[in-house]
Symmetry: C2
């Protein structure tokens, strides 16, 4: 079996460790931020960490009402713009902590005396040295090039940061996430069996909305990196603004479909895809009884999940699917061709 | 021939009209904003207009140093978050002015007394009524479902808004854009001839960086909408963080490759693609003499263009390519299957 699959299985324990270890520092940050609320939050990241940032963008706006922006590193690295960091809280995310452009934005922010937070899996990294407040993902060294356990760890830290920023998210609310993640791992035999059907799939779409929009990016990235599938990613709203024209009968579409605020929008998209005779595979949970009728295949998590806490459990079957599909295609997901674990870009 | 191609050809005249008609209102806005600088700019849009917003995101940060965020409409429409608009300048962009979610964000902003700007092609639209300051794209009614002349019109208005926000962009600097666009139209016979080669292309990647990142989104959207090509879009930096693993020999990659700040990053990507024996097609201009050696095919604009002003001229050959490829594939680009001109999403 692959390291990727091993690391996927380590996630409940890794999440548990992070939850315990970062609890106190998060409460300390909460009292600090209580005295000086940021006017704007800027998230900085690349690759899988940028997908986690995409999640943070939605979570923090939904839960705190503070505007959030995803940094475009080239503004700093290539255009060398004079940027005004006044009132901004900068949150940098990197598994290795050695992403050159992420770290450069962090440096620029610190030069202006901006408050900075770093999220990384590596305590001894450059990012951990540069950021004023550091929160660690306690996932253990990630050996597979395709990131899995560090992605969910980053998502968990972002929930904890939402708490620190005064959101109505208690740290105790997060304690069920490792359990839900464990339950999602129970789907592995079923997913391994189903992956065979997609042996010759060479393109696909992944659709998500709101808090699960980031998961669409992350699932598509796993399909690209580990299975060499040309996988597009869209919000279900943007998808209807043009890209849906690509969809012919049998076109494979994957979707994250929780109940809650995004369901009506997703249901509309799934209905349209059904009319077009696309082949849809949805990830959903026991709380969404309307979903299965709208999809060709359903992957259902056994608990009823509040939509707010679906993103971590929902990415697990997608990670497993990518690892199993890679195996079906005779590929080793731990070492995709061309790429390496730490990518240095400017 | 298609309406899309007709409308592509109308662009120099449309840009000229917009430049003339909106000059005075822009200067008036400049004096107003001079007294009260926004702390944050939020761009709101969907579809092609969202690609224009992506351009605005880079342009306004590079040229003004004011942080810019792209709104996630679902925060307002689905999650109904209590959002703090304090100090924000909201810029809504919509060709038709009838995009429901864009307009809802505009309404929320106005309820909090936030300064709002609307950019639309339709003077009588809901968006034009909702926004405090309205700037019109004078493109004439756009009949093709695939937007072309309204996209470049929106880009032009964003340059003018950068001027209004105090950027070092004089309105007179913009007067050469229609001329450069006219010159780009001169490439039509060459592109029409070349499009045949891609008759059976069913997937592709489009890569851009910085100010041309939005063009990568827009070109990919045209390929999806009008040619049903599964077209991915990436910044050249994000591309190296994973997706490049998809690239096998003969994989078709399109890239925008101006000289200037983004060239080193793009050259690195093109070199890597050459090693992988991908087939690359680049859009560049007479100012970048290093580009051709790094690509399989080169589309070169005849003028030497400053990188800041490449995005409008550079999208022209891409639009022509999509229209011609659709024709080669026996498709009518004006009426893609499944989609309509105005898309209503919440």
């Amino acid at each position: 079996m692959s390291k990727m699959l091993d690391e996927i299985r380590e996630q409940p324990a890794a999440l548990e460790r992070t939850l315990q270890a970062e609890r106190k520092p998060i409460e300390k940050l909460r009292s600090l931020l209580d005295r000086e609320k940021p006017r704007l939050i800027m998230l900085v990241a690349r690759g899988t960490s940028d997908n986690a940032a995409q999640f943070g963008r939605y979570l923090l706006e939904v839960a705190t009402g503070i505007p959030v922006t995803l940094a475009a590193p080239s503004i700093f690295t290539l255009y060398k713009a004079k940027f005004n960091f006044d009132g901004i809280l900068v949150i940098a995310i990197s598994q290795s902590g050695e992403s050159t452009d992420t770290n450069l934005v962090l440096e620029r922010a610190r030069e202006q005396g901006t408050r900075t937070i770093g999220i990384t899996n590596e305590a001894d990294s450059t990012l951990a040295r540069l950021a004023e407040h550091v929160f660690l993902v306690h996932a253990g060294r990630e050996k597979s090039v395709a990131a899995t356990k560090t992605y969910t760890g980053q998502l968990l830290v972002l929930y904890m940061l939402a708490h620190a920023l005064g959101a109505n998210i208690a740290l105790d609310d997060l304690t069920r996430i490792p359990e839900w993640t464990q339950a999602a791992l129970g789907l592995e035999p079923e997913i391994a069996r189903r992956a065979e059907r997609y042996r010759f799939m060479d393109h696909a779409l992944v659709v998500g909305r709101g808090l699960n929009y980031a998961n669409a990016f992350e699932f598509a990235l796993k399909l690209m990196e580990t299975c060499y599938v040309v996988a597009e990613r869209f919000s279900s709203a943007d998808f209807l603004h043009g890209p849906i024209a690509m969809v012919a009968p049998d076109f494979p579409v994957f979707a994250f479909a929780p109940s809650g605020p995004t369901w009506n929008s997703m249901a509309e998209t799934l209905d349209k895809l059904q009319t077009l005779k696309a082949e849809t595979v949805i990830v959903t949970d026991a709380g969404n009884t309307d979903a299965a009728a709208r999809a060709t295949r359903t992957i259902r998590l056994p608990h009823k999940l509040p939509e707010l806490y679906t993103p971590i459990p929902y990415i697990i079957p997608a990670q497993i699917f990518a690892a199993c599909l890679a195996a079906q295609k005779g590929l080793v997901p731990d070492k995709p061709r061309t790429i390496t674990k730490v990518t240095l870009t400017m």
